[in-house]
């Protein structure tokens, strides 16, 4: 599916601005963005629930179909599981026997084959959402639109359903435009990620590419990239000229790559093969994590996050520590 110069305006407010997007066959495209950035509006527009004010939607195959699953299951409360799943077929005028057979077969795939006569209120949250997915998927849409479908579920159930959805998509081969605000969800399924800010798609990239090279400070901020400093600040800590292109005026480093070091350390020259810098900082926060401790320090009045692997000596609050920063691990981007 291809979107060209799409605009959506609701009550004089332009929600989507000049948006171009292409979803490839069998692709999972994850759309991320803060609340109010226009993700749901775009999905509703693609599904035909909201009209486009301007722009063009085209399909590679000429004509395409979409199915949408919302954050809440939106199951029809007066219909059983099987009737909910078969609703789209009923709308299309499929005879009762045929749609019943199709829906029954589909229920097995959804692992809901024992629940066909139950009503939505008799199902758990996860089961309800699977019925909602089945209701959309039974119509074999070319593109499935998911609007934070698992956001209201608890973490373990959410993880299970993400895995289930991912393997179902790989098996059936439809495309997905998946809206989520969970980074872990996006990273575990996405072929490509698009970040939407203020109604515009600001960056489209493969997950790794997005993190390594955010296209702007706004994207880096949205992705909550830690330890983001200006080039000037890094050059101050590395006491020398930083050899990266001049346009790259921001850099961030993963907390796992920094170390709290003990004893005497000498400043290394950044022209060496494996340069690093040792800076002095004061511990401001210590909190336990799965791997050890997450420590926040203040250096030059700027906060730095450091992950300590293992359960060794815990730094004390207000303690002065030395931080080792490897230059090669800093990822550079343009502000």
């Amino acid at each position: 599916m291809q979107l060209e110069q799409i605009n959506i305006q609701i009550n004089e407010t332009v929600i989507i601005k000049d948006l171009d997007l292409q979803i490839k066959p069998k692709e999972i495209f994850v759309l991320m963005g803060p609340s109010g950035s226009g993700k749901t509006t775009l999905l509703k527009g693609i599904a035909g629930l909201i009209p486009f004010t301007a722009g063009k939607q085209t399909w590679e195959s000429g004509k395409g179909t979409t199915g949408i699953v919302f954050q809440e299951p939106r199951l029809f409360p007066h219909l059983t599981v099987i009737e909910n799943i078969a609703f789209g077929l009923r709308v299309k005028g499929t005879p009762v026997r045929e749609r019943n057979n199709k829906a029954s077969a589909f229920l097995k795939r959804l692992q809901l084959d024992q629940l066909e006569d139950r009503y939505p209120h008799q199902l758990s949250g996860g089961q309800q959402q699977r019925v909602a997915l089945g209701r959309a998927l039974i119509l074999s849409p070319a593109l499935l639109l998911l609007d934070e479908p698992f956001a209201s579920l608890d973490t373990s159930l959410r993880t299970d359903l993400i895995d289930w959805m991912y393997s179902l998509q790989r098996k059936l081969g439809f495309s997905i435009l998946w809206v989520t605000h969970y980074l872990d969800e996006a990273l575990s399924v996405a072929d490509r990620i698009g970040v939407m800010l203020d109604g515009r798609l600001q960056q489209i990239a493969a997950p790794v590419e997005l993190f390594q090279h955010p296209s702007s400070e706004n994207i880096a901020q949205f992705l909550s990239l830690p330890n983001r400093m200006t080039r000037l600040q890094w050059s101050k800590w590395f006491k020398g000229e930083i050899k990266v292109p001049a346009t790259k005026n921001m850099g961030w480093i993963d907390p796992n790559h920094m170390q709290i070091v003990h004893g005497e350390h000498k400043q290394e020259n950044i022209t060496n093969d494996r340069p690093s810098s040792i800076i002095t900082a004061v511990v401001t926060k210590v909190k336990p994590s799965k791997e050890g401790f997450s420590v926040t320090v203040s250096a030059d009045n700027l906060p730095l996050d450091i992950n300590m692997i293992g359960w060794g000596r815990i730094p004390r609050l207000e303690e002065s520590v030395k931080i080792k920063i490897p230059f090669e691990k800093i990822l550079w981007y343009t502000k």
Partner: protein, 284 residues
Amino acid sequence: MVKRLYVRRSVNVIFITLLTLFLIFPFIPLIIWSFTKHWPWPLLLPEEWNISSWKYLLSVSGRALEGLSNSLIVASLTLLGNLLLGIPAAKVLAQIEFIGKKAVFSTLLAPLFIPYTVSIIGMHDFAIRFTLLNEYVSVAFAHLIVTLPYFIATIWFQFRLIGNKLQEAAVSLGANRWKVFLWIEAPLLLPSVLLGSFLVVVISLSQYLPTWIMSGGTLLTMPLIIFPFANSGDSSIVAAYSLLFFVPVLLLLMVYFLLVRINAKNNLQIGGEKDAIRANKHSN
């Protein structure tokens, strides 16, 4: 804990019993009055019993059946008007945003707040100008004005509860507006429509002034038959007519509860689809 539960249950039983007695109590003197012409205070029961009021009521000159059938025809027409106008109006007011919505809502509910005499004067003028209308229709029109606010308020509330998320889901699955209404909204609205219809019929049955004004007193509904007797102080006849008047209301109430029960039991299956699906499942 068990003791507290027992106390709570006892309080509930006492409260429901008192409420039932409060509602049933007025019917006891009504039944007694319908079988006597004379029941002076402070006698606990009348000294003489007879069925002359019931005889008169069932006689040709009593015109009870005519009044009853006229009342039911007008009530049916009123209900039809409410269903045709009230459901779309309630849907628009509950689900669509537009400028002046509050003003429209206030206008539709106006008969609830505007003094009755104002409406009646308006109706009287209307009756004079539209004499060509069938008197059943013109009376039903007047009843429509009186009942529509109650009906709209009942359905509006249900539409608000339903919201528009289910409709959006149905549209995303290919349903057009008519199918959305028929397959999603109508089944979910049914309990409210039943309640609203019951209210409309009961209110329509008890209208006196609008009926009298719109028909010029020629269309004899039950209230128009009862009121002259009430004016003349014939308590026995009034009691007999009132009891007869209560029969269709009671029947309607029973039908209402029956339909609500069927609706809850079948969980609003439409078109026997569930049976068809089950039959198919067993045949496989």
